[in-house]
């Protein structure tokens, strides 16, 4: 599971640094001024420019942004009621949809006010006889809980911190490497929650890196002085050809070691501290391991490298290298100091929101669709999603089987979504079986229906609440906009209409040939074309087969 090499990420850091020296630096935080003062490729999509997009484009941008944040915007709430038809010209953005990008930007800075209620909902309270909404594996709970928590949490400052931490632990920079024998689920929890706290506090990137370098969890991933120092140079500075520096850095760390498995892999430091200064990275003398870690954390390459790693993950390494390099250069030129600034710069850049296209990580496709389809998870969903085996409730899939396990890989997820046939088949089955081709519409007719209390699976009744009076073309168009953010092509409209109107099946035995009009036993028309649930299932079934459902399109 070590996956791909990272050669495609070896973009010229030197070029970025050169660019930094040439670029006009806009000092100061765009957060503090409220202005988006990134230049060039990093130029931000502001509210004015966003509002000039067509309503459909605005919806596409809104869901691209939401999807990246593992959220989604239902079409029904984004557009005014009655304006979603087969004609894009009738679309009108609702008050809720207005300035959506600006609203998200503000939401990510808004304090969360119901943290305790969310935790209570997830975990329950035995004393108060409040049942837990979700179940987790005992051992793997630290790997399963974060996504459940994010699913229940609205966009807020804490949500953003948790989302950033989740992204970071799935990169090479902070992966807890749960897959290796010296790391454990406890390390997952320590690294993840440590990052959340630091991100909430706006701790500088360099401080976060230094803290991590010094941690036992880091040494459980890279377990000897030579291994650890090599990886720190590679991971945080992007220097892959500094082999000669490694023995010298390892001398500085010679008194640091990890105990054996029998002694629970504890980080220990002996009194045999090095006393001979070692010259590393051409300019720096280090004597102790702390010296070395400080040199790495404070090195000029840190911000360009960190920015590059995050851009690679957000854009994928199939996105043109020159654009990724330019974006890294232009973001670094603004001298960000926190992960929040870097993530915000990437997320709200025009390059990301308007131009980026790539396959989606499963979290991005699934949870975006979940919010757009009014899906409700069953109680063990987040447990099953993050198991090493597949679950029948998720189409036999799991993140592991899709080759995108969370928290696990020693070198983090390779920054390109696995696209081999097997991984694709699992993603297809996951999205299809856990959501698109399952209906919870019956919940609407249940007098005891409580969408908050009833864990279920499949799209929710709200999706089709106002759809029964729509014409078939309007209905199909509504489903396409809801799920994909586009109208159906003429070919799609024609074929889906015919499928909905003509599907037939054997009345008695499944072996009857329904292509013959006089088939023995006869054939029944399978669908009532006015049955909205049936219509929806057909369209959803089709949408699950479209590569587009697993893909970010460029908006422009």
């Amino acid at each position: 599971m070590w996956g791909h090499p990272m050669m495609k990420t070896l973009k010229p850091i030197a070029a970025i640094l050169l660019g930094l020296s040439l670029a006009s630096c806009n000092l100061g935080s765009p957060e503090s001024t409220g202005k988006y003062d990134y230049d060039g490729t990093a130029a931000q999509l502001d509210s004015k420019e966003y509002s000039r997009l067509t309503p459909l484009q605005q919806y596409q941008v809104a869901n691209k942004l939401s999807s990246a944040l593992f959220k989604g915007v239902p079409a029904r709430s984004f557009f005014k009621e009655g304006t979603i038809t087969a004609n894009a010209g009738t679309l009108e953005v609702s008050a809720e949809g207005q300035d959506y990008v600006g609203k998200v930007r503000r939401a990510l800075k808004t304090p969360l006010d119901n943290r305790d209620a969310i935790a209570l909902k997830i975990e329950g309270d035995a004393d108060a006889q409040i049942p837990a909404r979700y179940t987790f594996d005992t051992d793997r709970k630290p790997m399963q809980y974060p996504m459940a928590y994010m699913f229940e949490m609205p966009l807020s400052d804490e949500y953003f911190a948790r989302w950033m931490a989740y992204k970071l632990v799935n990169t090479i920079m902070f992966s807890p490497a749960e897959e290796i024998d010296s790391a454990s689920e406890r390390d997952v929890q320590k690294i993840y929650e440590g990052l959340v706290s630091a991100l909430m506090d706006n701790t500088p990137v360099r401080s976060i890196i230094l803290t991590h370098e010094l941690s036992q969890a880091n040494w459980r991933r890279f377990r000897s002085p030579e291994d650890n120092t090599r990886e720190m140079i590679e991971i945080y500075l992007g220097l892959f050809d500094r082999d000669a520096d490694v023995p010298k850095a390892a001398i500085a760390c010679k008194n640091w070691s990890l105990t054996s498995e029998d002694q629970q892999y504890e980080l220990q430091q002996s009194p045999k501290v090095n006393t001979v200064p070692q010259l590393i990275l051409d300019h720096y003398y280090v004597t102790t391991c702390e010296d070395f870690f400080n040199v790495v954390a404070n090195h000029p390459l840190v911000i360009p490298r960190v920015t590059t790693v995050l851009i690679d993950h957000m854009f994928g390494v199939d996105y043109p290298a020159e654009k990724r390099t330019a974006l890294a250069r232009d973001i670094a030129a603004a001298q960000p100091t926190t992960f929040k600034e870097i993530f915000m710069a990437i997320l709200f850049s025009k390059e990301f929101l308007l131009s980026m296209d790539r396959p989606k990580w499963f979290e991005e496709s699934f949870f975006n669709a979940a919010n757009r389809m009014y899906w409700r998870p069953y109680s063990a969903f987040f447990r099953d999603l993050n198991r090493t085996t597949g679950s029948g409730n998720i189409g036999g899939a799991s993140l592991t089987l899709m080759y995108q396990p969370a928290f696990s890989l020693k070198l983090g997820r390779w920054p390109i979504v696995p696209g081999d046939v097997l991984a694709t088949a699992y993603q297809h089955n996951g999205l299809r079986s856990a959501m698109l081709t399952r209906s919870n519409a019956k919940l609407a007719s249940d007098p005891n229906f409580d969408p908050e209390a009833i864990p279920s699976n499949g799209w929710g009744p709200e999706l089709i609440e106002n759809a029964s009076t729509m014409s078939l073309p309007d209905f199909i168009s509504y489903m396409f906009i809801s799920a994909l953010g586009r109208l159906p092509t003429a070919e799609e409209l024609s074929t889906l209409t015919q499928v909905i109107n003509t599907a037939r099946t054997a009345a008695t035995a499944s072996t009857v040939d329904c292509t013959v009009s006089s088939a023995p036993g006869g054939c029944l028309k399978y669908w009532s074309s006015t049955n909205v649930v049936n219509r929806t299932l057909v369209v959803m079934d089709y949408l699950s087969r479209l590569p587009e459902s697993y893909f970010y399109n460029a908006v422009n």
């Binding site: 000897s224 002085p225 030579e226 189409g395 081999d420 991984a423 297809h428 499928v499 087969r545």
Partner: protein
């Protein structure tokens, strides 16, 4: 000729040769006839190809993490122990002694293998002409010790450049161009020609050969040949699964069709944009594989294909492999872990579906090879398990399954991204190094295949007591770059001059590329 240019030429020719005329015309719209002619000339002039009478199958086993060479090479252990920061004898007291079968002690076998680290099994395999060990796979032109970079170069057979093509992809492209009657269309090409049992792998990276057609692209299988490609929910448009599925019928444009099939066709037709290429092809291949696995002609549970005994009458069972020695050599069948299961699947696939040409798997399940700490005991057990599984694999290939005949043209190559230092560091492990072993097994029926050999000798380099203590090829010893492993694979399939596929002026300078390792006439070892 720059390797990358040659691979691009392979892509050009392949596109023109394999696409239907209409699409070929579109695809070639931006390619001038002169470019095409040049590409043909390049390939004809550069690649000297002669297809073997029977195409072999290669099972590529990659030891991610960088395996220590010591299991297969204790020849320098006395000096290593003297110079090491921590003494091996403090952990393994008899490691400096020759193996003594009478008293059952000592670790150095007759060929210098590590007895308790699979060494006795290695001796058996070498003595039985089932394996050769090449001890001097050593990076000279690109001694990088970073994992990903080294994995990349080892699995592409090329230097660390962006967009390089994996070994399996290069092989597929060569076969497509040089054996057009077999590999240039889906009707002739055997099903599952290129398989991975480790998911996405660099070995199948497309790189510059990005036009490789669907039927030659790798397919992921699981160890039990389950059908993960099947849609789990058909209720909207049909019932049942697999062979029992029954689709509802629809009338589309006046014709009765399966509703489900019509939707798949519609999805494919509206997803032709190049940005969807990878996903679209994966979706299409999923349908094909679902059909294949759902029919009686598909593969079935590989565990059920293992015969009771091998060709020599030795059972395939979980009893220990008994020899005159008391050393643990593992069980007589595949181990019950993901590595044992994947290797069993690979062997059964090679036997049951002889059209499969290249199969990749990792040693996942045995544990990783990145032995930075507390390594010796875990390493001994890991190599023991590795070797016992390899012995079982060779026995199965020589025996055949319950329904398929034995094959003598299946090669198993086992290697990693780099070797390790031999200094036992402060954490009692080994840090990233260079020199490593190639274990190559099976395929005795392949012409010029050299088995039963232990090739290459090493010397110790480094300052006593310091971490950078490592082995290097001894003066006069043959040695090979990791790129030569790829060259060897190409050679098995008929490329007489595989060095043209491993040369790259960017880093090899005037060198003309890296030749095959195996005992082929004309193979020229690279000397430092």
């Amino acid at each position: 000729m720059n390797r990358r240019d040659l691979l691009k030429a392979l892509g050009l020719i392949g596109a023109s040769a394999t696409l239907p005329p209409l699409f070929a015309k579109q695809a070639m719209a931006n390619v001038s006839q002169r470019s095409l002619a040049n590409a043909r000339a390049i390939i004809d002039g550069e690649i000297n190809f002669s297809a073997p009478a029977n195409l072999p199958t290669v099972i590529n086993i990659f030891m991610y993490g960088g395996p220590s060479e010591l299991a297969g090479n204790l020849t320098n252990i006395a000096q290593i122990n003297t110079d090491s920061q921590n003494k091996y004898t403090g952990v393994r007291g008899d490691i400096l002694q020759a193996f003594d079968a009478v008293n059952n002690n000592g670790q150095i076998t007759s060929h210098g293998f590590w007895a308790d680290a699979g060494g006795m099994t290695m001796e058996d395999l070498v003595a039985g002409n089932q394996m050769s060990v090449y001890r001097t796979i050593n990076r000279v032109v690109d001694d990088n010790k970073a994992h990903r970079e080294s994995i990349f170069s080892a699995q592409t057979g090329g230097v660390r450049t962006m967009d390089a093509s994996g070994m399996g992809t290069v092989l597929a492209a060569v076969l497509r161009v040089k054996m057009p009657g077999v590999f240039d269309n889906p009707d002739n090409t055997p099903i599952l020609p290129f398989v991975t049992l480790e998911g996405d792998t660099v070995l199948y990276d497309l790189g510059d050969i990005n036009d490789l057609p669907l039927w030659l692209r790798s397919v992921s299988l699981d160890a039990n040949f389950n059908n993960p490609y099947q849609r789990r929910t058909l209720s909207a448009l049909g019932t049942g699964t697999g062979a029992t599925k029954s689709y509802h019928k629809c009338i589309i444009d006046g014709a009765f069709v399966d509703c489900s099939v019509s939707l798949d066709a519609l999805a494919a037709s509206v997803s032709s944009a190049s940005k969807f290429d990878r996903l679209s092809k994966a979706m299409a291949k999923r349908i094909e594989l679902d059909d294949y696995f759902s029919t009686s002609g598909g593969l079935s549970n590989p565990a059920a294909k293992i015969p009771t005994t091998d060709v020599d009458g030795v059972p395939f069972d979980t009893n220990a492999f008994t020899t005159s020695f008391g050393i643990n050599q593992g069980i007589r069948t595949f181990t019950n872990d993901s590595f044992g299961s994947n290797l069993r699947a690979a062997c059964v696939l090679a036997l049951e579906n002889p059209g499969t040409r290249f199969i990749t798997l990792s040693t996942g399940g045995l544990g990783g090879w990145d032995d930075h700490d507390n390594s010796i005991a875990k390493y001994e057990q890991r190599v023991t398990n590795l070797m016992s599984n390899l012995r079982t694999a060779v026995r199965l290939l020589r025996t055949g399954t319950t329904t398929a005949a034995a094959r003598g043209d299946v090669v198993i190559n086992v290697f990693g991204e780099f070797g390790r230092n031999v200094n036992l560091n402060g954490s009692m492990g080994w840090d990233h190094g260079n020199n490593m072993n190639l274990y190559t097994l099976g395929g005795s029926g392949i012409a010029n295949r050299a088995l039963g050999k232990v090739v290459g000798s090493t010397k110790v380099i480094g300052t006593p007591g310091q971490n950078r203590l490592f082995t290097s090829p001894a003066d006069g010893s043959p040695q090979w770059e990791p790129f030569s492993i790829a060259a060897t694979v190409y050679r098995y399939f008929g490329v007489a001059n595989p060095e043209v596929l491993t040369s790259d002026s960017l880093i090899t300078g005037a060198h003309s590329g890296f030749a095959a390792i195996d005992g082929f006439a004309g193979a020229i070892p690279l000397t430092a």
